[in-house]
Protein backbone atom coordinates (compact mmCIF):
# COMPACT_ATOMS: atom_id res chain seq x y z
CA UNK A 1 0.00 0.00 0.00
CA UNK A 2 2.79 2.39 0.92
CA UNK A 3 4.50 1.63 -2.33
CA UNK A 4 1.40 2.16 -4.38
CA UNK A 5 0.79 5.55 -2.82
CA UNK A 6 4.44 6.45 -3.26
CA UNK A 7 4.33 5.50 -6.93
CA UNK A 8 1.15 7.46 -7.41
CA UNK A 9 2.67 10.64 -6.00
CA UNK A 10 5.85 10.17 -8.02
CA UNK A 11 3.92 9.61 -11.23
CA UNK A 12 1.44 12.44 -10.66
CA UNK A 13 4.07 15.01 -9.79
CA UNK A 14 6.39 14.11 -12.68
CA UNK A 15 3.42 13.95 -15.02
CA UNK A 16 2.23 17.31 -13.75
CA UNK A 17 5.49 18.99 -14.77
CA UNK A 18 5.34 17.34 -18.19
CA UNK A 19 1.70 18.31 -18.58
CA UNK A 20 2.37 21.97 -17.82
CA UNK A 21 5.30 22.09 -20.23
CA UNK A 22 3.27 20.32 -22.91
CA UNK A 23 0.38 22.76 -22.42
CA UNK A 24 2.74 25.65 -23.12
CA UNK A 25 3.72 24.09 -26.43
CA UNK A 26 0.21 22.98 -27.42
CA UNK A 27 -1.24 26.47 -26.80
CA UNK A 28 1.11 28.06 -29.31
CA UNK A 29 0.75 25.24 -31.79
CA UNK A 30 -3.01 25.58 -31.61
CA UNK A 31 -3.13 29.23 -32.59
CA UNK A 32 -0.25 29.47 -35.03
CA UNK A 33 0.94 25.99 -36.02
CA UNK A 34 4.29 26.71 -34.46
CA UNK A 35 6.20 24.08 -32.53
CA UNK A 36 8.17 26.43 -30.33
CA UNK A 37 11.43 24.70 -29.50
CA UNK A 38 12.57 27.77 -27.59
CA UNK A 39 10.00 26.92 -24.91
CA UNK A 40 12.55 24.93 -22.91
CA UNK A 41 14.86 27.92 -22.94
CA UNK A 42 12.11 30.14 -21.51
CA UNK A 43 12.19 27.71 -18.58
CA UNK A 44 15.95 28.10 -18.23
CA UNK A 45 15.74 31.90 -18.34
CA UNK A 46 13.14 31.88 -15.58
CA UNK A 47 15.42 29.74 -13.43
CA UNK A 48 18.41 32.00 -13.98
CA UNK A 49 16.34 35.08 -13.24
CA UNK A 50 16.36 33.85 -9.64
CA UNK A 51 20.09 34.45 -9.20
CA UNK A 52 22.51 37.35 -9.53
CA UNK A 53 24.05 37.43 -13.03
CA UNK A 54 27.66 36.23 -12.72
CA UNK A 55 29.76 33.36 -13.98
CA UNK A 56 30.87 32.43 -10.43
CA UNK A 57 30.32 28.80 -9.48
CA UNK A 58 28.35 29.76 -6.40
CA UNK A 59 24.90 31.11 -7.07
CA UNK A 60 23.79 34.17 -5.14
CA UNK A 61 20.06 34.59 -4.89
CA UNK A 62 18.63 37.69 -6.52
CA UNK A 63 14.91 37.44 -7.22
CA UNK A 64 15.07 34.21 -5.25
CA UNK A 65 15.31 36.29 -2.06
CA UNK A 66 11.83 37.65 -2.48
CA UNK A 67 9.00 36.06 -0.52
CA UNK A 68 6.89 33.60 -2.46
CA UNK A 69 3.89 35.95 -2.78
CA UNK A 70 6.09 38.40 -4.65
CA UNK A 71 8.38 35.92 -6.35
CA UNK A 72 5.73 33.73 -7.96
CA UNK A 73 3.83 36.49 -9.78
CA UNK A 74 7.10 38.18 -10.72
CA UNK A 75 8.53 35.04 -12.27
CA UNK A 76 5.26 34.26 -14.07
CA UNK A 77 5.42 37.81 -15.43
CA UNK A 78 9.02 37.38 -16.56
CA UNK A 79 8.11 34.19 -18.41
CA UNK A 80 5.12 35.86 -20.04
CA UNK A 81 7.12 38.93 -21.06
CA UNK A 82 9.93 36.84 -22.49
CA UNK A 83 7.53 34.77 -24.58
CA UNK A 84 5.66 37.89 -25.76
CA UNK A 85 8.93 39.57 -26.67
CA UNK A 86 10.08 36.55 -28.67
CA UNK A 87 6.79 36.61 -30.56
CA UNK A 88 7.16 40.31 -31.31
CA UNK A 89 10.82 40.13 -32.31
CA UNK A 90 10.89 36.80 -34.12
CA UNK A 91 7.70 34.87 -34.77
CA UNK A 92 5.54 37.78 -35.89
CA UNK A 93 7.66 38.03 -39.01
CA UNK A 94 7.03 34.38 -39.82
CA UNK A 95 3.21 34.47 -39.71
CA UNK A 96 2.84 33.80 -43.39
CA UNK A 97 5.84 31.51 -43.56
CA UNK A 98 5.83 27.75 -43.79
CA UNK A 99 5.42 26.01 -40.39
CA UNK A 100 8.80 24.36 -40.94
CA UNK A 101 10.50 27.72 -41.37
CA UNK A 102 8.84 28.89 -38.16
CA UNK A 103 9.99 25.81 -36.31
CA UNK A 104 13.57 26.34 -37.45
CA UNK A 105 13.34 29.96 -36.36
CA UNK A 106 12.31 28.68 -32.93
CA UNK A 107 15.39 26.42 -32.81
CA UNK A 108 17.54 29.42 -33.70
CA UNK A 109 15.88 31.54 -31.03
CA UNK A 110 16.49 28.76 -28.51
CA UNK A 111 20.19 28.75 -29.31
CA UNK A 112 20.38 32.53 -29.05
CA UNK A 113 18.76 32.43 -25.61
CA UNK A 114 20.94 29.54 -24.47
CA UNK A 115 24.14 31.23 -25.58
CA UNK A 116 23.02 34.48 -24.04
CA UNK A 117 22.65 32.66 -20.72
CA UNK A 118 26.02 30.98 -21.28
CA UNK A 119 27.70 34.34 -21.81
CA UNK A 120 26.22 35.88 -18.67
CA UNK A 121 26.16 32.97 -16.24
CA UNK A 122 28.90 30.66 -17.55
CA UNK A 123 28.52 27.02 -18.52
CA UNK A 124 28.85 25.28 -15.16
CA UNK A 125 25.65 24.10 -13.51
CA UNK A 126 25.00 25.98 -10.27
CA UNK A 127 23.43 24.84 -7.08
CA UNK A 128 20.35 26.86 -6.15
CA UNK A 129 18.27 26.30 -3.13
CA UNK A 130 14.83 27.77 -3.64
CA UNK A 131 12.34 26.88 -0.96
CA UNK A 132 14.42 23.93 0.41
CA UNK A 133 11.80 23.31 3.10
CA UNK A 134 9.50 21.94 0.44
CA UNK A 135 11.64 18.85 0.11
CA UNK A 136 10.95 17.73 3.66
CA UNK A 137 8.80 14.61 3.55
CA UNK A 138 5.28 14.52 4.91
CA UNK A 139 3.29 11.38 5.57
CA UNK A 140 0.25 10.92 3.35
CA UNK A 141 -1.69 7.67 2.98
CA UNK A 142 1.11 5.76 4.59
CA UNK A 143 3.69 7.06 2.13
CA UNK A 144 6.43 9.52 2.85
CA UNK A 145 6.08 12.21 0.23
CA UNK A 146 8.09 15.40 -0.18
CA UNK A 147 5.78 18.35 0.35
CA UNK A 148 6.85 19.64 -3.06
CA UNK A 149 5.27 16.65 -4.81
CA UNK A 150 1.95 17.46 -3.22
CA UNK A 151 2.35 21.10 -4.19
CA UNK A 152 3.23 20.15 -7.77
CA UNK A 153 0.12 18.02 -8.07
CA UNK A 154 -2.09 20.72 -6.60
CA UNK A 155 -0.42 23.39 -8.71
CA UNK A 156 -0.93 21.38 -11.88
CA UNK A 157 -4.60 20.94 -11.07
CA UNK A 158 -4.96 24.64 -10.34
CA UNK A 159 -3.16 25.62 -13.54
CA UNK A 160 -5.13 23.21 -15.70
CA UNK A 161 -8.47 24.22 -14.17
CA UNK A 162 -7.80 27.94 -14.40
CA UNK A 163 -6.62 27.59 -17.97
CA UNK A 164 -9.79 25.65 -18.79
CA UNK A 165 -11.89 28.35 -17.09
CA UNK A 166 -10.05 31.10 -18.93
CA UNK A 167 -10.60 29.37 -22.26
CA UNK A 168 -14.25 28.57 -21.54
CA UNK A 169 -15.47 31.68 -19.79
CA UNK A 170 -13.56 34.71 -21.03
CA UNK A 171 -13.72 36.69 -24.23
CA UNK A 172 -10.03 36.14 -25.03
CA UNK A 173 -10.46 32.44 -24.32
CA UNK A 174 -13.33 32.17 -26.79
CA UNK A 175 -11.28 34.03 -29.38
CA UNK A 176 -8.31 31.73 -28.79
CA UNK A 177 -10.40 28.61 -29.23
CA UNK A 178 -12.00 30.00 -32.39
CA UNK A 179 -8.60 31.03 -33.73
CA UNK A 180 -7.11 27.64 -32.91
CA UNK A 181 -9.77 25.99 -35.01
CA UNK A 182 -9.85 28.37 -37.96
CA UNK A 183 -7.73 31.48 -37.72
CA UNK A 184 -8.86 33.10 -40.97
CA UNK A 185 -12.52 32.69 -40.10
CA UNK A 186 -11.96 34.16 -36.65
CA UNK A 187 -10.26 37.19 -38.21
CA UNK A 188 -13.13 37.61 -40.66
CA UNK A 189 -15.34 37.95 -37.59
CA UNK A 190 -13.16 40.74 -36.24
CA UNK A 191 -10.94 38.72 -33.91
CA UNK A 192 -7.60 40.51 -33.73
CA UNK A 193 -4.80 38.13 -34.68
CA UNK A 194 -2.20 40.05 -32.68
CA UNK A 195 -4.22 40.01 -29.49
CA UNK A 196 -4.89 36.29 -29.66
CA UNK A 197 -1.34 35.32 -30.53
CA UNK A 198 0.21 37.63 -27.96
CA UNK A 199 -2.19 36.24 -25.36
CA UNK A 200 -1.27 32.67 -26.21
CA UNK A 201 2.44 33.47 -25.91
CA UNK A 202 1.90 35.19 -22.56
CA UNK A 203 0.10 32.14 -21.18
CA UNK A 204 2.72 29.83 -22.60
CA UNK A 205 5.54 31.87 -21.04
CA UNK A 206 3.80 31.90 -17.67
CA UNK A 207 3.49 28.12 -17.86
CA UNK A 208 7.23 27.92 -18.58
CA UNK A 209 7.88 30.00 -15.44
CA UNK A 210 5.71 27.67 -13.36
CA UNK A 211 7.67 24.68 -14.63
CA UNK A 212 10.92 26.51 -13.88
CA UNK A 213 9.98 27.11 -10.24
CA UNK A 214 9.03 23.47 -9.74
CA UNK A 215 12.13 22.11 -11.46
CA UNK A 216 14.54 24.28 -9.57
CA UNK A 217 12.97 23.48 -6.23
CA UNK A 218 13.06 19.79 -7.02
CA UNK A 219 16.54 19.48 -8.49
CA UNK A 220 18.28 22.44 -6.84
CA UNK A 221 20.31 23.03 -9.99
CA UNK A 222 20.42 25.82 -12.55
CA UNK A 223 21.85 24.65 -15.83
CA UNK A 224 21.88 26.54 -19.12
CA UNK A 225 20.86 23.35 -20.93
CA UNK A 226 18.12 22.37 -18.49
CA UNK A 227 15.34 23.27 -20.94
CA UNK A 228 16.36 20.70 -23.54
CA UNK A 229 15.34 17.50 -21.79
CA UNK A 230 11.97 18.73 -20.55
CA UNK A 231 11.24 20.35 -23.91
CA UNK A 232 11.80 17.02 -25.64
CA UNK A 233 9.42 15.17 -23.32
CA UNK A 234 6.86 17.96 -23.51
CA UNK A 235 7.01 18.01 -27.29
CA UNK A 236 6.48 14.24 -27.37
CA UNK A 237 3.53 14.67 -25.04
CA UNK A 238 1.92 17.19 -27.39
CA UNK A 239 2.43 14.81 -30.31
CA UNK A 240 0.99 11.83 -28.45
CA UNK A 241 -1.86 13.97 -27.18
CA UNK A 242 -2.73 15.14 -30.69
CA UNK A 243 -1.02 18.32 -31.86
CA UNK A 244 -2.82 21.38 -30.62
CA UNK A 245 -5.23 19.52 -28.36
CA UNK A 246 -4.97 20.96 -24.86
CA UNK A 247 -6.70 18.09 -23.02
CA UNK A 248 -4.53 15.76 -25.06
CA UNK A 249 -1.35 17.53 -23.99
CA UNK A 250 -2.32 17.28 -20.33
CA UNK A 251 -3.34 13.63 -20.55
CA UNK A 252 -0.23 12.64 -22.48
CA UNK A 253 2.00 14.57 -20.06
CA UNK A 254 0.58 12.60 -17.15
CA UNK A 255 0.78 9.37 -19.16
CA UNK A 256 4.48 9.82 -19.94
CA UNK A 257 5.16 10.72 -16.32
CA UNK A 258 3.34 7.60 -15.16
CA UNK A 259 5.05 5.27 -17.61
CA UNK A 260 8.41 6.74 -16.73
CA UNK A 261 7.86 6.21 -12.99
CA UNK A 262 6.47 2.71 -13.46
CA UNK A 263 9.42 1.68 -15.62
CA UNK A 264 11.79 3.03 -13.00
CA UNK A 265 10.03 0.97 -10.35
CA UNK A 266 9.45 -2.30 -12.12
CA UNK A 267 12.23 -2.74 -14.65
CA UNK A 268 14.88 -5.31 -13.64
CA UNK A 269 17.82 -3.57 -11.99
CA UNK A 270 20.13 -4.25 -14.90
CA UNK A 271 17.74 -2.62 -17.34
CA UNK A 272 17.02 0.51 -15.29
CA UNK A 273 19.84 2.62 -16.73
CA UNK A 274 18.15 2.15 -20.09
CA UNK A 275 14.76 3.29 -18.85
CA UNK A 276 14.48 6.00 -21.49
CA UNK A 277 14.92 3.45 -24.28
CA UNK A 278 11.85 1.64 -22.92
CA UNK A 279 10.00 4.92 -22.47
CA UNK A 280 10.57 5.95 -26.07
CA UNK A 281 9.65 2.46 -27.28
CA UNK A 282 6.32 3.09 -25.57
CA UNK A 283 6.11 6.41 -27.42
CA UNK A 284 6.72 4.68 -30.77
CA UNK A 285 4.10 2.03 -30.07
CA UNK A 286 1.58 4.64 -29.00
CA UNK A 287 2.16 6.61 -32.20
CA UNK A 288 1.91 3.48 -34.34
CA UNK A 289 -1.44 2.68 -32.78
CA UNK A 290 -2.79 6.24 -32.88
CA UNK A 291 -0.74 8.33 -35.30
CA UNK A 292 -3.22 11.17 -35.02
CA UNK A 293 -2.70 11.36 -31.26
CA UNK A 294 -4.85 10.32 -28.34
CA UNK A 295 -7.10 13.36 -28.70
CA UNK A 296 -7.02 14.15 -32.38
CA UNK A 297 -8.02 17.78 -32.81
CA UNK A 298 -9.59 17.21 -36.22
CA UNK A 299 -12.48 15.11 -34.97
CA UNK A 300 -14.48 18.29 -34.71
CA UNK A 301 -14.27 19.18 -38.41
CA UNK A 302 -17.69 20.34 -39.60
CA UNK A 303 -19.79 17.90 -41.53
CA UNK A 304 -20.83 18.78 -45.06
Amino acid sequence: MNNVAQLFFDAASLGGIYAMAALGIALIFGVMNLVNFAHGDYIAVCVFALIVPSSEAVAVMFLGHAPAVVLIPMLLGIGALLAMASEYVVFRHFRRADPVAMMIASFALGFVIQNGLLAVYGGRPKAISLWPDLNTPVAIAGASVPLLQVIVIVATLVVVCSLALLLKKTRIGLEMRAAAENFTMARLLGVRANVVITGAFALSGALAAAVAMIMVTQTGVADVRMGGQIMLVAFIATVIGGMGSLPGAVAAGFLIGAVSVLLQAFLPLDARPFRDAFLYTFVIVSLLLRPQGLFASNTSKPRV
Binding site: R171, L174, E175, R177, A178, E181, N182, T184, M185, A186, R187, L188, L189, G190, V191, R192, A193, S297, S300, K301, P302, R303, V304
Partner: protein, 244 residues
Protein backbone atom coordinates in the same frame (compact mmCIF):
# COMPACT_ATOMS: atom_id res chain seq x y z
CA UNK B 1 -21.15 56.97 -53.64
CA UNK B 2 -21.58 53.25 -53.90
CA UNK B 3 -21.78 51.03 -50.85
CA UNK B 4 -18.97 48.90 -52.26
CA UNK B 5 -16.61 49.86 -55.05
CA UNK B 6 -14.07 47.52 -56.61
CA UNK B 7 -11.66 49.26 -58.95
CA UNK B 8 -9.32 47.34 -61.30
CA UNK B 9 -8.58 44.66 -58.72
CA UNK B 10 -6.20 41.83 -59.57
CA UNK B 11 -5.39 38.81 -57.45
CA UNK B 12 -2.74 36.23 -58.16
CA UNK B 13 -1.62 33.11 -56.34
CA UNK B 14 2.09 32.98 -57.07
CA UNK B 15 2.15 33.42 -60.82
CA UNK B 16 -1.35 32.13 -61.39
CA UNK B 17 -3.77 35.00 -61.97
CA UNK B 18 -7.18 34.56 -60.35
CA UNK B 19 -8.69 38.01 -60.97
CA UNK B 20 -7.69 40.46 -63.70
CA UNK B 21 -8.60 44.13 -63.34
CA UNK B 22 -12.08 43.49 -62.00
CA UNK B 23 -14.27 46.52 -61.36
CA UNK B 24 -17.76 46.50 -59.96
CA UNK B 25 -20.11 48.48 -57.74
CA UNK B 26 -22.78 47.52 -55.26
CA UNK B 27 -25.31 50.09 -54.08
CA UNK B 28 -26.75 50.49 -50.60
CA UNK B 29 -29.44 47.90 -49.85
CA UNK B 30 -28.88 46.08 -53.12
CA UNK B 31 -28.83 42.31 -53.61
CA UNK B 32 -26.13 41.24 -56.05
CA UNK B 33 -25.31 37.73 -57.21
CA UNK B 34 -21.86 36.76 -58.41
CA UNK B 35 -21.95 33.83 -60.79
CA UNK B 36 -19.63 31.98 -63.12
CA UNK B 37 -17.96 28.62 -63.62
CA UNK B 38 -15.47 27.02 -61.27
CA UNK B 39 -12.20 28.92 -61.32
CA UNK B 40 -13.85 32.12 -62.53
CA UNK B 41 -12.53 33.99 -59.50
CA UNK B 42 -15.73 34.27 -57.43
CA UNK B 43 -14.21 33.22 -54.15
CA UNK B 44 -11.04 35.19 -54.88
CA UNK B 45 -13.17 38.29 -55.35
CA UNK B 46 -14.90 37.79 -52.01
CA UNK B 47 -11.55 36.98 -50.41
CA UNK B 48 -10.04 40.19 -51.76
CA UNK B 49 -12.95 42.29 -50.48
CA UNK B 50 -12.90 40.67 -47.03
CA UNK B 51 -9.12 40.95 -46.70
CA UNK B 52 -8.51 37.20 -46.49
CA UNK B 53 -6.75 37.30 -49.87
CA UNK B 54 -4.29 40.05 -50.72
CA UNK B 55 -4.68 41.96 -53.96
CA UNK B 56 -1.78 42.54 -56.32
CA UNK B 57 -3.36 45.58 -57.94
CA UNK B 58 -6.34 47.85 -57.63
CA UNK B 59 -8.46 49.43 -54.89
CA UNK B 60 -11.51 48.36 -52.90
CA UNK B 61 -13.70 50.86 -51.05
CA UNK B 62 -16.67 50.53 -48.72
CA UNK B 63 -18.53 53.72 -47.73
CA UNK B 64 -15.48 55.65 -48.86
CA UNK B 65 -13.06 53.71 -46.62
CA UNK B 66 -10.29 51.96 -48.49
CA UNK B 67 -10.37 48.25 -47.63
CA UNK B 68 -7.47 46.97 -49.71
CA UNK B 69 -4.34 46.48 -47.61
CA UNK B 70 -6.24 46.19 -44.35
CA UNK B 71 -6.26 42.92 -42.39
CA UNK B 72 -9.59 41.00 -42.27
CA UNK B 73 -10.24 41.94 -38.63
CA UNK B 74 -10.04 45.66 -39.49
CA UNK B 75 -12.39 45.22 -42.45
CA UNK B 76 -14.87 43.34 -40.23
CA UNK B 77 -14.78 46.31 -37.87
CA UNK B 78 -15.79 48.61 -40.71
CA UNK B 79 -19.05 46.65 -41.10
CA UNK B 80 -18.34 43.91 -43.59
CA UNK B 81 -19.28 40.35 -42.76
CA UNK B 82 -18.42 37.16 -44.58
CA UNK B 83 -20.28 33.85 -44.67
CA UNK B 84 -17.67 31.70 -46.39
CA UNK B 85 -17.95 28.79 -48.76
CA UNK B 86 -18.31 25.53 -46.85
CA UNK B 87 -19.65 27.46 -43.82
CA UNK B 88 -16.38 27.24 -41.86
CA UNK B 89 -18.22 27.09 -38.58
CA UNK B 90 -16.19 26.36 -35.46
CA UNK B 91 -17.09 22.71 -34.92
CA UNK B 92 -15.56 22.37 -31.46
CA UNK B 93 -17.39 25.44 -30.16
CA UNK B 94 -21.03 25.39 -29.13
CA UNK B 95 -23.69 26.98 -31.30
CA UNK B 96 -23.92 29.98 -29.01
CA UNK B 97 -20.14 30.38 -28.82
CA UNK B 98 -20.03 30.44 -32.61
CA UNK B 99 -22.48 33.32 -32.55
CA UNK B 100 -20.45 35.17 -29.93
CA UNK B 101 -17.06 35.01 -31.65
CA UNK B 102 -18.00 38.02 -33.76
CA UNK B 103 -19.39 40.27 -31.02
CA UNK B 104 -15.97 41.35 -29.79
CA UNK B 105 -16.10 44.34 -32.11
CA UNK B 106 -19.38 45.61 -30.65
CA UNK B 107 -19.97 47.70 -27.55
CA UNK B 108 -23.79 47.61 -27.50
CA UNK B 109 -24.22 44.83 -24.91
CA UNK B 110 -28.04 44.84 -24.85
CA UNK B 111 -28.35 44.82 -28.62
CA UNK B 112 -26.01 41.82 -28.74
CA UNK B 113 -28.30 39.82 -26.47
CA UNK B 114 -31.41 40.79 -28.41
CA UNK B 115 -29.66 39.93 -31.69
CA UNK B 116 -28.87 36.48 -30.35
CA UNK B 117 -32.45 35.89 -29.31
CA UNK B 118 -33.59 37.19 -32.73
CA UNK B 119 -31.41 34.57 -34.39
CA UNK B 120 -32.85 31.87 -32.15
CA UNK B 121 -36.32 33.07 -33.10
CA UNK B 122 -35.50 32.95 -36.79
CA UNK B 123 -33.75 29.57 -36.57
CA UNK B 124 -35.46 27.73 -33.74
CA UNK B 125 -33.25 24.65 -34.16
CA UNK B 126 -30.21 26.77 -33.26
CA UNK B 127 -31.93 27.90 -30.09
CA UNK B 128 -32.75 24.34 -29.14
CA UNK B 129 -29.18 23.25 -29.67
CA UNK B 130 -27.43 26.37 -28.40
CA UNK B 131 -25.20 24.42 -26.01
CA UNK B 132 -24.44 21.59 -28.42
CA UNK B 133 -21.20 21.43 -30.37
CA UNK B 134 -21.71 23.13 -33.70
CA UNK B 135 -19.86 20.30 -35.44
CA UNK B 136 -22.79 18.01 -34.70
CA UNK B 137 -25.29 20.12 -36.67
CA UNK B 138 -26.49 19.07 -40.11
CA UNK B 139 -25.29 20.90 -43.21
CA UNK B 140 -28.40 23.07 -43.46
CA UNK B 141 -28.26 23.93 -39.76
CA UNK B 142 -24.60 24.83 -40.12
CA UNK B 143 -25.48 27.14 -42.99
CA UNK B 144 -28.08 28.85 -40.80
CA UNK B 145 -25.51 29.14 -38.04
CA UNK B 146 -22.93 30.59 -40.43
CA UNK B 147 -25.46 33.23 -41.53
CA UNK B 148 -26.44 33.97 -37.94
CA UNK B 149 -22.78 34.25 -36.96
CA UNK B 150 -22.19 36.61 -39.88
CA UNK B 151 -25.02 38.84 -38.60
CA UNK B 152 -23.61 39.04 -35.08
CA UNK B 153 -20.90 41.49 -36.12
CA UNK B 154 -23.80 43.82 -37.01
CA UNK B 155 -22.67 44.28 -40.62
CA UNK B 156 -23.77 46.80 -43.19
CA UNK B 157 -22.62 44.61 -46.04
CA UNK B 158 -22.79 40.83 -45.88
CA UNK B 159 -21.13 38.52 -48.38
CA UNK B 160 -22.35 34.93 -48.67
CA UNK B 161 -20.26 32.46 -50.64
CA UNK B 162 -22.28 29.63 -52.25
CA UNK B 163 -24.98 29.23 -49.58
CA UNK B 164 -26.57 26.41 -51.58
CA UNK B 165 -23.44 24.25 -51.74
CA UNK B 166 -24.17 20.68 -50.67
CA UNK B 167 -27.71 21.43 -49.44
CA UNK B 168 -31.01 19.84 -50.47
CA UNK B 169 -33.15 22.14 -52.66
CA UNK B 170 -35.85 22.69 -50.03
CA UNK B 171 -33.17 23.71 -47.53
CA UNK B 172 -31.74 26.12 -50.10
CA UNK B 173 -35.18 27.67 -50.44
CA UNK B 174 -35.26 28.16 -46.71
CA UNK B 175 -31.79 29.71 -46.65
CA UNK B 176 -32.74 32.24 -49.32
CA UNK B 177 -36.06 33.07 -47.69
CA UNK B 178 -34.14 33.84 -44.54
CA UNK B 179 -31.55 35.95 -46.32
CA UNK B 180 -34.20 38.00 -48.10
CA UNK B 181 -36.20 38.49 -44.89
CA UNK B 182 -33.09 39.56 -43.00
CA UNK B 183 -32.14 41.98 -45.73
CA UNK B 184 -35.52 43.65 -45.66
CA UNK B 185 -35.59 43.78 -41.88
CA UNK B 186 -32.10 45.21 -41.42
CA UNK B 187 -31.49 47.12 -44.63
CA UNK B 188 -28.51 44.92 -45.35
CA UNK B 189 -26.58 45.03 -48.57
CA UNK B 190 -26.04 41.48 -49.84
CA UNK B 191 -23.39 40.07 -52.15
CA UNK B 192 -24.02 36.39 -52.85
CA UNK B 193 -22.06 33.87 -54.86
CA UNK B 194 -24.59 31.61 -56.58
CA UNK B 195 -23.83 29.22 -59.44
CA UNK B 196 -27.42 28.81 -60.54
CA UNK B 197 -28.89 31.74 -62.48
CA UNK B 198 -32.32 30.11 -62.20
CA UNK B 199 -32.04 30.24 -58.43
CA UNK B 200 -30.80 33.83 -58.53
CA UNK B 201 -33.65 34.82 -60.81
CA UNK B 202 -36.20 33.28 -58.46
CA UNK B 203 -34.78 35.19 -55.52
CA UNK B 204 -34.38 38.34 -57.60
CA UNK B 205 -31.59 40.86 -57.85
CA UNK B 206 -28.70 41.96 -60.00
CA UNK B 207 -26.21 39.44 -61.32
CA UNK B 208 -22.56 39.87 -62.17
CA UNK B 209 -21.02 37.13 -64.27
CA UNK B 210 -17.35 36.28 -63.91
CA UNK B 211 -15.32 34.14 -66.23
CA UNK B 212 -11.58 33.57 -66.30
CA UNK B 213 -11.03 36.20 -63.63
CA UNK B 214 -12.87 38.99 -65.47
CA UNK B 215 -16.38 40.46 -65.44
CA UNK B 216 -18.18 39.24 -68.56
CA UNK B 217 -21.72 40.27 -67.74
CA UNK B 218 -23.74 42.54 -65.42
CA UNK B 219 -27.52 42.80 -65.37
CA UNK B 220 -30.82 41.58 -63.97
CA UNK B 221 -30.61 37.98 -62.78
CA UNK B 222 -33.91 37.14 -64.51
CA UNK B 223 -32.49 38.13 -67.87
CA UNK B 224 -29.42 36.02 -67.35
CA UNK B 225 -31.55 33.04 -66.54
CA UNK B 226 -33.17 33.30 -69.92
CA UNK B 227 -30.11 34.13 -71.89
CA UNK B 228 -27.58 31.72 -73.19
CA UNK B 229 -24.78 33.90 -71.91
CA UNK B 230 -24.46 31.94 -68.71
CA UNK B 231 -24.49 28.54 -70.37
CA UNK B 232 -21.90 29.81 -72.73
CA UNK B 233 -19.72 30.91 -69.86
CA UNK B 234 -20.01 27.49 -68.29
CA UNK B 235 -19.86 25.13 -71.20
CA UNK B 236 -19.04 27.15 -74.31
CA UNK B 237 -22.69 27.20 -75.35
CA UNK B 238 -23.54 23.59 -76.08
CA UNK B 239 -24.57 21.70 -72.98
CA UNK B 240 -27.64 22.12 -70.85
CA UNK B 241 -27.27 23.92 -67.58
CA UNK B 242 -27.30 21.53 -64.67
CA UNK B 243 -29.33 22.37 -61.64
CA UNK B 244 -26.86 23.08 -58.85
Amino acid sequence: MSKLGVFDVSVRYGKVPALNDVSLHVEEGERVFISGPNGAGKSSLLGAISGAVSTSHGRIEMDGDILSGRPPEAIARLGLSMVPEGREIFGALTVEENLRVGVGIRRDKQAIESDISDIYDAFSILGERRHANAGALSGGQQQMLAIGRGLMTNPKLMMVDEPSLGLAPNIVDQVYETLVALQEERGLTLLIVEQSSARAARVGGRMILLRGGAVVGDGDAAEFAQQDLLKEAYFGGSQKETAQ
